[in-house]
């Protein structure tokens, strides 16, 4: 894939946000807030960072692979996968509908290209990513494994089992990213279950922590991901703390947990789409 300019990448982000909102609106279900906040990350990853082939191979040998542990961001992932050539853009019309490959949460048994494991029940993706990273080490495959988790997801104990393991086994071909938006479905994380000092926590678990403070600014995300890549191969697993705003890109959705798991109605959709230019053509 040819390198795209920051302006081009930003345009893809706008389209991704439109895709997300139109998908969840069409079935009146799904999770729009977090994928809106992760648009820059998804686009930077798939259109700039990943060394990958949309002619999907399950084992990902010789490629960078990505896992979405917080599977409820499926609409965002489906958008970036289809926009980068994994499957036809028109298939987004089937999101969450009967007989679709685009399940409510990502799944493999419908063989949707780009998906390697089911996710949705939280806390499992980091462990799976570790397994792939270690398979790559056995095979002397120098490509990387990426995984994204939600910040609320870090309340799951399994994440910390995996965190301990990754440092102990020096899994340094792995870049985990926490979508640090401070929101979860019942409210702000600090009210639901305070995560306190995440940077210190991950460092104490033996990780190299890379803060990406402007997670909704394309230039900053690109630089942050480049830096993360430069930190791999040095004996430590790498964690990006990606500061984002849930609902970013739509003025009445930004910065609140209200749109975590609620779709917009017709009027809200029209208003939101009015703020997001159709850059690549709606599906």
């Amino acid at each position: 894939m040819e390198k795209q300019s920051i302006e081009q990448l930003q345009k893809i982000c706008t389209q991704l946000r439109r895709d997300v909102l139109r998908m969840v609106h069409a079935v009146q279900s799904g999770h729009p807030g977090a994928p809106l906040g992760c648009a820059e990350f998804f686009v930077a990853l798939y259109f700039d960072q990943l060394r990958h082939d949309p002619n999907f191979k399950m084992d990902g040998k010789g490629e960078d692979v990505f896992f979405l542990s917080n599977g409820h961001l499926s609409a965002g992932w489906y958008s970036v996968l289809s926009r980068s050539g994994y499957f036809p853009v028109a298939e987004m019309k089937t999101f969450r509908k009967l007989n679709s490959r685009l399940q409510g949460h990502p799944a493999t048994h419908e063989h949707l290209p780009g998906i390697r494991v089911a996710s949705g029940s939280l806390g499992q993706g980091l462990s799976v990513a570790l397994g792939v990273a270690q398979a790559k080490k056995i095979d002397k495959d120098d490509k990387l494994v990426y995984v994204m988790m939600g910040d609320g997801e870090l309340q799951e104990g399994q994440v910390w089992e995996a965190a301990m393991y990754a440092a102990h086994h020096k899994v340094d071909n792995l870049i985990a990213t926490v979508d640090y938006n401070g929101q979860q479905i019942d409210g702000p994380t600090e009210k639901i279950m305070d995560l306190l000092n995440l940077k210190a926590k991950w460092e104490a678990f033996g990780w190299e922590v890379n803060e990406i403070k402007e997670g909704n600014d394309m230039k900053s995300v690109l630089e942050g991901l480049e830096k993360a890549k430069s930190l791999t191969g040095k004996g430590k697993p790498v964690l990006n703390l990606l500061y984002t705003e849930m609902g970013f890109g739509v003025d009445f959705m930004v910065g609140t947990h209200k749109w975590h798991g609620s779709p917009p109605n017709d009027e809200q959709l029209a208003k939101a789409l009015g703020q997001l230019e159709e850059t690549l053509g709606d599906y």
Partner: protein, 321 residues
């Protein structure tokens, strides 16, 4: 009084050693076979593999959920992971991880579960899982295997390495008679008729296959000829073999070191009720937890030994019209 047993033994050994030896052999045959263990390498007999293939073995510490997830990842990367721990921690503790990352995602992960059932013995009920077969057989895509002795466990371990798909392999701790041949071919999903009979069929799995062999000899002394079928694969169940036998004998007993609820007996009942209704008596744990004791004491107290199989067979016979 000595019984005229159709199968005998000269040696006893634990089924977990059959697993450990099979695992090492599988590792030698296929470089993609890898292992994981959650701080029970000695108990699971995975040490020889770890020693021979240190780069293909991963100690996960006491963190079973993570071990299952890593196994799914290794499988994605083309490896054949054997993840070992006690049956209790390999199932109930990690059910959701198995469900989502392994079964639903159809990953080629081998969940290797030792110390299953009452015969774990003195550790008591916290560790004596009696619900694992039920939990595992309910999962779509999952193959569930429960071999009966050292040789069969070793053969099963080699067979699952060559099978593509998620497998739950259950074995145990106690030293147990080795009464099946070392050179047996293990066919997943194919029941093994060990003894021909005409009056009643005993469908047994795991350690209780030996108890069924003893029960057959006891019944024969009383002029009752029991057929003994070794159901090493709980799922997929060999319903053809089950129906063929019960059509001949007219009644049956199921015998397993597991809760009656959700166990092998329930699977057999399900088959009979739909295709060939016939009396079936259960030998299994009846809705209770276990306790500390020796394997022999526990099998007796909870009604799982050969004498109980004999009684159940007579009950089944009495119900036969």
């Amino acid at each position: 009084m000595s019984l005229d047993l159709k199968y005998t033994y000269t040696e006893k050994k634990d089924t977990r050693s059959g697993f450990g030896d099979g695992f090492l052999e599988a590792g030698r045959r296929n470089p993609n076979v890898v292992g994981l263990c959650a701080d029970l390498i000695g108990s699971l007999k995975m040490g020889d593999f770890q020693k021979e293939f240190p780069d293909r073995f991963f100690q996960t510490g006491i963190a079973e959920a993570n071990m299952i997830g890593i196994s799914a990842g290794l499988a994605i990367g083309g490896k054949i992971p054997f993840a070992g721990t006690f049956a209790n921690f390999a199932t109930g503790r990690v059910y959701d991880q198995i469900r989502q990352s392994v079964a639903y995602s159809d990953k080629n992960v081998k969940i290797c579960a030792s110390h299953a059932g009452l015969t774990l013995g003195e550790d008591g009920a916290t560790h004596q899982i009696l619900e694992d077969l039920g939990m595992m057989k309910m999962l779509p895509h999952m193959t569930v295997i429960n071999p009966c002795d050292y040789n069969q466990t070793k053969a099963a371990t080699l067979a699952i390495a060559e099978y593509e798909g998620p497998v739950y392999l259950r074995f145990g701790r106690p030293s147990w008679p080795i009464f099946t041949p070392a050179d047996q071919k293990f066919e997943i999903g194919k029941a093994w008729k060990m003894i021909d009979g005409k009056d009643v069929t005993i469908f047994a799995t795991g350690h209780l296959v030996w108890e069924a062999v003893v029960a057959e000899a006891m019944l024969r002394e009383e002029g009752i000829y029991a057929e003994v079928i070794n159901i090493h694969t709980i799922k997929p169940l060999d319903t053809e073999a089950i129906l063929e036998s019960v059509k001949k004998t007219g009644c049956a007993v199921s015998a397993e070191e597991h809760q009656i609820n959700g166990g092998l007996g329930d699977s057999i009942a399900n088959t009979l009720i739909r295709h060939h209704p016939a009396p079936l008596e259960y030998v299994g744990v009846n809705d209770s937890f276990g306790e500390s004791g020796t394997p022999t004491q526990l099998l007796e107290k909870y009604g799982l030994n050969a004498e109980n199989i004999v009684k159940a067979a007579k009950r089944a016979l009495a119900r036969k019209k």
